[in-house]
């Protein structure tokens, strides 16, 4: 099992900090930077996908019902999706 982030020593690093696993940035949790989270009223949603197009993090995906929803592991809570949604599906709520 790989070591947790805070257990890695300088000896565990590849030379020059080279990352040898492609796509490993996806494992980096940026969701805990968030101070506001998007909340959805899907009854208004027209599934236009504007929120997905505008999301700077690329973390908005279609859910099982075909609605667009942010993946909270990566969502930084910037609120751009809420601002751009043409039918006001998304509202930003303070994180507890």
């Amino acid at each position: 099992m790989p070591k947790a982030d805070n257990e890695l020593t300088w000896r565990d690093l590849e030379i020059g900090g080279i990352v040898t696993t492609p796509g490993s940035a996806a494992a980096y949790r940026t969701g805990d930077w968030r101070s506001q989270r998007p909340e959805y009223d899907f009854s208004r949603c027209i599934k236009c996908g504007m929120c997905q197009m505008y999301c700077p993090e690329g973390c908005v995906k279609k859910n099982a019902d075909g609605y667009f929803e942010a993946d909270l592991y990566h969502c930084k809570g910037c609120g751009i999706c809420a601002r751009e949604c043409p039918v006001w599906v998304i509202s930003m709520k303070e994180e507890a």
């Binding site: 982030d5 890695l8 300088w10 690093l13 030379i15 020059g16 900090g17 080279i18 040898t20 980096y28």
Partner: protein
């Protein structure tokens, strides 16, 4: 066959690029480094050197192009000086942090303002902490030899760090000296092919220069520090191997006529040659004076330095740059701190001189020793004196 030729040192450096068969040269010309890059351009244009020659638009781009080249596993060379070194400064940290084996010759020159194209060590001191290996030289032969050694050091898998080879601007870069240009086949045997362990290649994708959040940045910095400190062992091994093959020996700290000397001069770079002649003269006059010369500026050779000055009462240092508003000579400042906790240790007297191309002659070194002994006897704790300034 090794040839002894009369050659401008910059041209000889260009010839070294050919001897070591560099793959990529990304450079921007700047005085007093220009002849190096002009000569390499000639060699490439004439088909004598099969290398990619990238005439970039700035030194920042020169170093950045070197990243890509070294990361792809190509043998990479560049050269610069002064303002050019300043312009590539942020990139220098990247080269060493990413552990890219780039070799760069620096024709040491003053930094503006006022504008000076002439030599001193001000440019070096601004890149002191960039995490590169840094080697100083006294004459053209040493520049040639250490540029060859630099590739073997940088590309060693226990090192993988960039190396700066320093040659004093004009005093070395522009003089014609007798140079033993080593035989190409012998150099190729001495210097195995570059084999960067994790090169950029589609068959095994890697990401370089990634970001490090607070939980890992300290570890990454320490890995770099450990690598730079540990590189001294390899540097010494390479110098020993070079001596075996080519008959010329280099050491992190070198001494000249230090036997029984209670007073030692201390220099770095080409002025060491003048200082040696001055020591000869003072010895002829019955003064027991010796000379300590620092070759390896980074990693700093603490143990070798302490050993070299053991038994001396007074160490009189000449720096070719000024740490403005600070302790005077930056080299002296480091030597003082390296000796501070040793008991006993010599009194360290700091002079700054030879700035912006001003010559320091044999007579000047005699004056510096005399004045240094006066200061030592007076018990003055003045940080430094500037030598030769007109009041």
């Amino acid at each position: 066959m090794t040839k002894r030729v009369g050659m401008e040192v910059s041209i000889a450096v260009g010839e070294v690029a050919k001897l070591v068969d560099v793959d990529v040269v990304a450079v921007y010309p700047i005085t007093p480094q220009t002849h190096v890059v002009e000569h390499i351009a000639d060699l490439v244009a004439d088909g004598e050197l099969d290398a990619e020659y990238i005439p970039v638009e700035s030194e920042h781009s020169a170093m950045s192009a070197c990243f890509g080249s070294a990361a792809a596993g190509a043998r990479t060379f560049t050269a610069t000086a002064s303002q050019g070194l300043e312009l590539m400064q942020e990139a220098l940290y990247v080269a060493s942090g990413m552990r890219l084996p780039i070799v760069m010759v620096v024709a040491n020159r003053a930094v503006s303002a006022p504008l000076s194209i002439w030599g001193d060590h001000s440019d070096v001191m601004t890149v002191r902490d960039t995490g590169w290996i840094q080697i100083f030289n006294e004459n053209g032969q040493e520049v040639v030899d250490n540029t060859i050694c630099a590739f073997r050091i940088a590309e060693n898998h226990n090192v993988l760090l960039p190396v700066m080879v320093h040659m004093d601007g004009f005093n070395l870069s522009h003089v014609i000296e007798p140079i033993l240009l080593p035989d190409e086949a012998q150099v190729r045997t001495f210097l195995p092919q570059n084999n960067y362990p994790l090169p950029l290649h589609p068959s095994k994708p890697v990401a370089m220069g990634d970001f490090a959040p607070p939980f890992i940045f300290t570890e990454a910095r320490w890995a770099h520090e450990e690598a730079l400190r540990a590189s001294k062992k390899v540097i010494v091994e390479v110098w020993d191997a070079f001596a075996k093959e080519f008959g010329r020996q280099y050491n992190p700290v070198e001494t000249y006529r230090t036997e029984r000397a209670k007073t030692l001069l201390f220099t770095m770079g080409c002025f060491s040659e003048t200082a040696m002649t001055s020591v000869d003269k003072m010895r002829d006059d019955g003064m027991e004076v010796g000379l300590v010369k620092l070759r390896l500026w980074r990693p700093f050779p603490f143990e070798e330095l302490r050993e070299a000055v053991k038994g001396a009462d007074t160490l009189i240092m000449l720096d070719r740059s000024l740490s403005t508003g600070g302790p005077g000579g930056p080299v002296c400042s480091e030597v003082r701190s390296a000796l501070y906790n040793q008991t006993p240790h010599p009194k360290v007297i700091s002079f700054v001189g030879g700035l912006g191309g001003r010559d320091v002659t044999i007579k000047d070194f005699e004056n510096i020793v005399k004045r240094g002994m006066e200061i030592a006897q007076s018990g003055s704790d003045k940080e430094f004196e500037i030598y030769g300034v007109r009041e």
